[in-house]
Amino acid sequence: MTAWKETVGGRRALTILRSRPFLTVAIVAAVWIVASFVSRGFGAYGHLRYLVELAAVIGLVAAGQTFVVIAGGIDLSVAAIVTVSAVSLPLLSWQADPTGLTAVLAVLALTTTIGLVNGLGVALLRVHPMIMTLAMATFLQGLLIIIAGGSAVTAENPLVRWIGNARPAGIPAGVLLWVAVSVIVLAAMHATSFGARLFAMGANPLAATLSGVPFASTTLAVYGISGFTSGLAGVLVLGMNGQGYVGIGDPYLLASIAAVVLGGTSILGGLGTYAGTIPGAILLVTITALITVVNASPGWRSILFGSLILGLLLLSGREQARR
């Protein structure tokens, strides 16, 4: 009867069933099913597809955040980076490039550089990641005062427009982008030595260093990746809204951290997987949408939102003991 549990395949299946990512997926499914009973339109295919599209933005930001958190850091500059990306892209219009790709690449190079600077501060100046990235977010606010509202022209970028609005084969382009990024992220995280170094750095930086893990370059890479994925999220959110504005990235700071942690990655570093962050992001947008359609005063909505997160956490979130 319980014999299947003893087989290798059975053990593996059991591990998956008990894993945090799977639990989070199950919770998302449960919330969707319950919500579509409560409100019929909620469970419509189009709506769920839209939720996943929204989650793609959080998912992209949280991709970099997952790397950073697993490596034992945190990136508080993601929101500002998303905004910088979405606001500066319309300012760049290379007439020579009708696809708009050059402008997108230029912006991604910019945001990656911002991330690398974060990494430099953390790795070389030894500034605590929270302080470094918070300071970076402050810098970027100053930068935004200079660049925001500076353009009197809307530069229509065809590529950005496509990413934000196209639906090849009925699937939003943003979701396809997210899938592609997810595959790369999961591979880098779990199938390369780079990924293994991150986990080691997060779990015990001292032991990792003494084992020869190149601390500085790995840290640099991790924050660079976070800058890159945040920049990508900025491109997507710009496409979806047609217009960038200051503050467009604001929701993604807490959302990215919440998605990471709801997905089972330890905020202390060293444990976790992007496979959990993905349903974590979807869960967040689902709950947000859910409280939007509930008729209640703002105070009660806020309470409901918090209670739902807390309740779901109770289902899935026991911290593993460490030390």
């Binding site: 100046l125 030894r126 606010q141 100053g142 005062i145 807390l310």
Partner: protein, 321 residues
């Protein structure tokens, strides 16, 4: 076993212990001192009674939330609900104190709310073993929602005399801060208080040494909650009213102050004096930049540089040596 060692030697334990704890934060202290001097130089009015009063008043709530965050981080926890707690404290104070409860009743309600919510949060985090960061994130929505229910828009009132007492031209805020720091020292001199460090850094070892690890951590959450709603009460008095979202910015600022002050994430690392110095730096910076006549762009850039510098420069000196 025989008792050796002279009592003279023994009496001199407390202060050396205290002195040695400055080690990690000396660099920060130097930076803070430099800013204080600069501020005094730019604004000589600082040394008048009212100048000093106003300056400490703007620092005071940040100092309290920095302490509130630091206590939690010392136990290996963290709170993202600091801002919401401050708002709730302010809102409760502004709705009760001019009502039938009066100032005493209102203050009691504020304190009980702080201890109650803090304790409940601690219980959830510690006993149910849930990650503090998400519990308090969820908590921030629940607590913020409650503040909105009590006061859907800014309003309420604080008795004029209380506002004048706490935030008039008196050094009340400074006296209160000194008192709170003394209470903190007193708490750290209790077995439960000192256990904070052990419970944060080496919970297994502490448990095996007979330390009530869970109790120490729950108590830390309760104290933290009290400090937050207390800060809310002060903000209400300072502004003469309640605002359901007044505290929002305190969440990130409290973390910044604590980390700037050398409090580590993993628990048991850092000192309260560091967190206080961190909060003082954040507060001073705003005024100093004003008197230097910085434009907003320069304010943002300088602010970023200052907080990086305050952490990096002492580090650098350490490496050079």
């Amino acid at each position: 076993m025989s008792t050796v060692g002279s009592s003279r030697q023994a009496g001199a334990l407390y202060w050396p212990v205290q002195l040695r704890r400055n080690v990690g934060v000396r660099g920060l202290f130097a930076v803070v001192m430099a800013f204080l001097v600069a501020y005094g130089f730019l604004f000589p009015g600082l040394f008048t009674a009212s100048g000093f009063a106003k300056f400490t008043q703007s620092w005071f709530p940040l100092a309290l939330v920095a302490m509130a965050q630091a206590i939690l981080m010392l136990t290996g926890g963290i709170s993202l609900a600091i801002g919401a707690m401050v708002s709730l404290g302010a809102v409760i104070a502004a709705t009760t104190m001019t009502g039938p409860l009066g100032v005493a009743g209102g203050a009691t309600a504020v304190a009980l709310t702080g201890v109650g919510i803090g304790g409940a949060t601690g219980f959830i985090v510690v006993k149910l073993r849930l990650p503090a960061i998400v519990v308090t994130l969820a908590g921030s929505f629940i607590i913020g929602g409650a503040a909105l229910l009590i006061l859907p828009r800014p309003g309420g009132a604080i008795p004029e005399w209380l506002s004048d007492l706490l935030a008039g031209n008196t050094p009340a805020a400074f006296v209160l801060l000194v008192l709170i720091v003394l209470l903190w020292k007193l708490y750290l001199a209790t077995p439960l208080g000192l256990s904070l460090y052990a419970a944060g850094e080496n919970p297994v070892g502490a448990y095996r040494s007979g330390v009530p690890v869970d109790g120490a951590r729950v108590a830390a959450y309760a104290i933290s909650g009290l400090l937050c709603t207390g800060a809310g009460l002060f903000v209400a008095a300072q502004t003469g009213s309640g605002d359901p979202i007044i505290g929002t910015a305190f969440t990130l600022n409290s973390i910044a102050a604590a980390v700037l002050g050398g409090i580590g994430f993993l628990g048991g690392q850092g000192t309260m004096r560091g967190a206080l110095a961190g909060s003082l730096l954040l507060s001073l910076m705003i005024s100093v930049m004003f008197f230097l006549g910085f434009t907003p762009v320069a304010q943002y850039v300088a602010q970023g540089l200052i907080i990086i510098g305050a952490v990096a420069i002492p580090q650098f000196r350490k490496v050079q040596r």
